[in-house]
């Protein structure tokens, strides 16, 4: 039985299928989470193997960032790490192993406003869960921030499993997407003539971010240029700093 047919028995989602080949779930009951975990067990294991295959050779702290960005973000790192550690007192691995599928989703939902507040985002984005339609794409998209709706969308298939590698990716995704949210808010404030001081950014850097939003480089164009463009180098830097301390 296909994943959608399976989920249709129990889940409620917005629309039948959304344009990007995903379904956005409204509710994440235990039954929905269990169905999804069962249906994606094999592909989840393949995703874990992929992460293990590439990850052992990786050392953090080699990300190139703009000089004043480190100063802007340094004060955020410690409180965010502290809040994440408080939220997972027995570590992410220990917590994930001891929760039900539904519990894992609830735990990560609670984390979003906590990290948003630590990052100085006054209004935490709404959270939505989705499931990629194509099984092969199940672990190729972690989540996204939609700034028109001020919504954070997370791939549910990466949360329901007893798979710490994937769960940590989703915690990192929340951090990553909230940095993008912060960048966007700073650009909006700058366009509206407001000070960007509260973000710790210089006005010149916010202009670089604005220019980058207008000339964004996708990974399909060039993986290296994608990773090193200002909006992504900042988010990846923050993400790697936090990931190395919570992992």
């Amino acid at each position: 039985m296909g994943i959608f047919a399976l989920l249709k028995r129990t889940a409620h989602w917005v629309g039948e299928k959304l344009r990007d080949g995903v379904a956005t779930l409204v509710d994440c009951t235990l039954e929905v989470c269990q169905d999804l975990a069962e249906a994606t067990a094999t592909v989840c294991e393949r995703a874990r193997e992929k992460i293990r295959r590439w990850m052992p050779r990786v050392q953090p702290d080699e990300v190139v960032i703009y000089p004043d960005v480190e100063n802007a973000n340094r004060p955020l790192i410690e409180p965010v790490v502290r809040m994440i550690k408080q939220h997972f007192p027995s570590g992410i691995k220990g917590t994930v192993e001891n929760l039900t599928e539904e519990g894992r989703v609830k735990k990560i939902s609670e984390l979003v406003p906590i990290i948003a507040t630590s990052m100085g985002i006054e209004l935490s984005p709404d959270l939505e869960f989705y499931v990629p339609e194509d099984m092969e794409q199940m672990y190729r998209s972690c989540g996204a921030y939609n700034w028109v709706e001020h919504k954070l969308k997370l791939n549910l298939a990466m949360i329901v499993h007893d798979a710490p590698e994937l769960y940590i990716e989703q915690v990192s995704t929340i951090v990553h997407e909230l940095v993008h949210a912060r960048q966007r808010l700073a650009v909006e404030d700058w366009i509206n003539g407001k000070s960007v001081e509260r973000y710790g950014y210089t006005e010149e850097y916010v202009q670089i971010l604005a220019d980058n939003f207008n000339n964004y480089i996708t990974p399909d164009e060039n993986p290296e240029a994608y990773s090193k463009q200002p909006v992504e180098s900042e988010t990846f830097w923050v993400e790697s700093q936090i990931k190395s301390q919570i992992n």
Binding site: K50, I51, W54, M55, R57, V58, Q59, E62, V63, E136, Y139, R140, S141, C142, G143, A144, Y145, N146, W147, V148, E169, S172, T173, H176, E177, H180, V187, W190, I191, E204, Q207, I208, A210, D211, N212, F213, N214, N215, Y216, I217, T218, P219, D220, E221, N222, P223, E224, A225, S227, Q229, P230, V231, T235, F236, S240
Partner: protein, 159 residues
């Protein structure tokens, strides 16, 4: 000396790799900067001879593996291998995790104009151009030369 045809490369980026006009021109600029052995791989790809270069590898990672197992596009994979040659740790970090973050939400035309106007205004006020971070677009229309090792040696001696 062999050449990568400018128009053919542009069309490949647009039609096969599905890139935008600007992204294609930026990538032509990047191809021009690649070492000759990588340029040669790209020549084979756009001439529909992938079978000749599928085993091209860096640090044991082959082009075929990236295309078939990691679902990368051919020239995207060549760029990844070039990156892996120079910065293996960062390239692996991309493969392990970064590539699965979603790209930012595309801007509407109104939002683009709003940003463009604000940047123009700031440029007039400060006299500074913030757009220097971005890779240049290659609009030269000139083919890309691929030197053999011997030809490259001669060029270096002449310099």
């Amino acid at each position: 000396m062999k050449n990568i045809n400018y128009i053919k490369l542009y069309n490949y980026f647009r039609e096969v790799e599905g890139l935008s006009y600007k992204a294609s021109l930026r990538n032509i600029w990047r191809v021009r900067k690649l070492p000759n052995e990588f340029k040669n791989v790209i020549l084979e790809i756009i001439e529909d001879r992938f079978y000749n270069v599928g085993n091209f590898s860096v640090d044991g990672v082959t082009l075929r593996f990236l295309v078939e197992e990691e679902q990368m596009k051919c020239i995207q994979a060549v760029f990844l291998l070039d990156w892996m040659r120079r910065e293996p740790v960062n390239a692996c970090a991309f493969m392990a995790s970064k590539r699965y973050r979603s790209v930012i939400q595309p801007l509407s035309e109104d939002e683009r104009n709003e940003i463009r106007n604000a940047l123009d205004k700031a440029r007039i006020q400060t006299g500074k151009d913030v757009g220097t971070w971005c890779t240049p677009e290659d609009k030269s229309g000139e083919d890309i030369e691929i030197c053999t090792d011997k030809e490259e040696e001669n060029v270096l001696q002449m310099d």
